[in-house]
Amino acid sequence: MMVRSKSSRMVRTIVGWAVVALFAFPLYYWMTVAFKEGNEIFNWPPKVWSFTPTIKNFEEVFGISFGFGFGEQREVLPGGGNFRMGPRLWDSIVIAILSTALAITIATLASYALSRMNFRGRHHFVSWVLSTRMMPPVAVAIPIFFIYKDIGLLDTYTGVILIHALMNLPLAVLLMKSFFDDIPGEIDESALVDGASRWLIFRRIVLPMVKGGIAATAVLCFIFSWTEFLFVLTLTQTGLKTVPVVSSTFVTSTGTAWGSMAALGAAAMIPAFIFILLVQKHLVRGLTLGSVKQ
């Protein structure tokens, strides 16, 4: 009995590590590409563990000469050209954080109202919110381009933040509503009886209880904005660009600069990783919130 338990635990451990390896290996391999010279990237069989690491790709992508301060590249690189991706990384961070903050602020208020307040057409409103998610983004990208051009939002942070927040809102509202729905209404009613206002109840009582839900929703919104391509491509020109769009500039007429693309991709994982790390404490709570009904 004891032996079987030990062996099954071992099998579970092995399977667990295998699953982790399955998810981690592509990331690891992508990271190794960022540290490889061009002639080692396409080796066959691939050089997974033993290769000569180089920081050349990072130097080229960010225009930084490690050890010599900020350097100015003096040659045009075959298959790529010179890139200065630091500002583009900053663009991504600003857009992802602010659009997430905006979407969460609006979604939290809207979903609390949808969860707690009775008003005419409430259920239709929820369906309508959901229906906006069914719209293919490509169908609205061009009309929005024209609108933005007219009102001067083309190629601006505000424009991209607004559209990312807008695209995130339906999902955020529905998610947050489900989190609010899990908080018993009696809590609000007790507070109302004690004389608390709606705003006070929302701010002091209910909001702290859905912190985990907010974190989970924020992570989803952040990841959407961090990886969104179409709107940024259509609504920006030279003023700003996010990482996914600017990554496509590594696809050149003389091939793709894979090392540079991997270096940017590796660097782009860091802010997203930090953001998720910051909200991690609440994230697990949020993801499991409402999983057990009383």
Partner: protein, 495 residues
């Protein structure tokens, strides 16, 4: 020694010394042999720093003085250009535009994108007439579609003599390129800006080992490719391709084989002729040749094709010459110094003449994929944009682009003769040792796609989607595939 040889040799030894390939002692000995003191060469007794090397490749003072003078009314203007990430655009964006900006007081914002995205941006800008971009990068396959939306540079020169660059010499652009890239009907759709063109690129070491020379005919090319694949596969394949289903690159490969077998895309009546006898002969050849290519070739664009040669998986490619300088880069590829360039094999059947084809199609084995640069009619600063365009395409800038960026062939005939370009004809990144072949190919073998407004759709979608289906085995025969393409193309053309 002739004066021109002396100059060329001087440029070479300076280049070798600057790049650290020649010791100071050897440099001084060679310089003495030329009858020149070190002071004359401007080196003193110190190895020139990279800055010196860079300074040798800075724009001429005369050109910058002209920019400074003519740009005064436009100081503070911002110009925008969306372009594919090509060697000339990269060279201008990263190295050269700073000189223009400094002299002109203008700001130039260059948005580099993959080709498909450039087309999307350009189409949106034209459709909306917004003038978001002051200059258009125009692939030759879009020339007909945008011909009315850009200024004809000849008109700009005639209408604005005050803004015309002295010695710009528009006639220096190679006539074949003007015809093939920048001309639609009687209009110039900008000036030729870059010229990727099909040339034969092969592994000299492997060809020597097999006892082969550069292939003279298409059939010889197939025989060589088959022999290499039979002997070395699956480690090494004789040929490679850019055969991604539904991608423009697939259409490019197809046209080379089609023209090489004496066929054409259109007949004089404007009907699709890729399904005629010569068209089917080309398909039969291409199907055979594809058997000598690495597995996965059906998923590659020019990127995968180039990589297969760069990583030593394929021994040859008849494709874009702008890959050649990349192949010579020892830090990026495994074939540095091993590649040789040659003209494409001769066509199997006599080429059709332009009059035997439709829509200005020019049959030739050397498929060209050049592009032009033009000022948009919707630009709010057309004069300022015209000044930039002249600077970006003038002799001096083209020399710097080619010397700095390598890669693409110059579009001006005189640039090929420049000493700085010839001095770069050595093994290494950004080599120009293939440019003589490029020049010959432009003059003798160049093939150009037809000019019609629907061509962007046909070449990017209608044809390559169906060719992809053929290689995926969705048609019973090449005849069935080509008949289907004929039907689809004629439907699009007739509107």
């Amino acid at each position: 020694m002739k004066d021109s040889d002396r100059k060329l040799y001087r440029a070479k030894i300076v280049d070798d010394y600057v790049r650290g390939r020649m010791s100071r002692r050897s440099f001084l000995r060679n310089a003495s042999a030329l009858g020149l003191g070190a002071g004359v060469l401007g080196t003193g007794m110190m190895r020139p720093t990279p800055t010196f090397a860079q300074n040798a490749l800075e724009p001429s003072k005369e050109v910058l003085d002209w920019v400074r003078e003519v740009s005064k009314p436009f100081s503070g203007t911002t110009l925008r250009l969306a372009t594919e990430s090509t060697p000339p655009s990269n060279a201008i964006n990263s190295q050269l535009k700073k000189y223009f900006e400094e002299a002109s007081g203008m700001t130039v914002e260059i948005e580099t994108l993959p080709l498909e995205q450039v087309l999307q941006k350009l189409t949106l800008d034209i459709a909306s007439q917004l003038g978001t971009y002051d200059l258009y990068y125009i692939d030759q396959s879009w020339a007909a579609s945008v011909s009315r939306d850009v200024f004809d540079p000849r008109e700009q020169i005639a209408n604005n003599p005050d803004l015309a660059m002295p010695n710009y010499n528009i006639d220096d652009f190679m006539p074949a390129l003007v015809d093939g890239i920048a001309k639609y009907e009687d209009r110039w759709v900008g000036v030729p800006y870059d010229i990727p063109i099909f040339i034969m690129q092969y592994r000299k070491d492997i060809y020597d080992k097999m006892g082969f020379g550069a292939p003279e005919t298409l059939e010889e090319y197939y025989e060589q490719a088959k022999a290499i694949t039979d002997e070395n596969g699956p480690n090494l394949y004789g040929a490679t391709g850019q055969m991604k289903s539904g991608h423009y690159s697939l259409e490019c490969d197809w046209t080379a084989w089609l023209w090489g077998h004496g066929g054409s895309i259109f007949g004089p009546d404007g009907k699709f002729t890729g399904n005629d006898e010569r068209g089917l002969e080309a398909m039969e050849y291409w199907t055979r040749l594809a058997q000598t290519m690495p597995p996965g070739v059906n998923g590659w664009t020019w990127d995968g094709e180039g990589q297969s040669v760069a990583q030593g998986v394929a021994a040859s490619m008849m494709s874009w010459g702008e890959f050649f300088p990349y192949f010579d880069d020892p830090s990026a590829t495994k074939v540095s110094g091993l590649m040789a360039a040659a003209r494409c094999p001769k066509p199997k059947n006599p080429l059709r003449t332009v009059t035997e084809t439709g829509y200005g199609e020019i049959p030739g084995v050397g498929h060209q994929g050049g592009s032009s640069l033009a000022v948009s009619r919707n630009s709010k600063n057309p004069d300022a944009a015209w000044i930039f365009m002249q600077w970006a395409t003038c002799y001096d800038t083209q020399v710097l682009i080619t010397a700095l960026g390598g890669g693409t062939g110059p579009t001006r005939d005189s640039v090929y003769n420049d000493e700085r370009i010839k001095a770069n004809a050595r093994v290494g990144a950004g080599t120009t040792r293939h440019l003589d072949v490029v020049r010959e190919t432009i003059a003798l073998d160049m093939g150009s796609e037809p000019d019609l407004p629907q061509w962007a759709e046909l070449s990017n979608d209608t044809i390559p989607v169906r060719l992809g289906k053929y290689f995926a085995g969705e048609y019973a025969s090449a005849k069935e595939a080509m008949d289907d393409i004929a039907q689809a193309v004629d439907k699009v053309v007739s509107g």
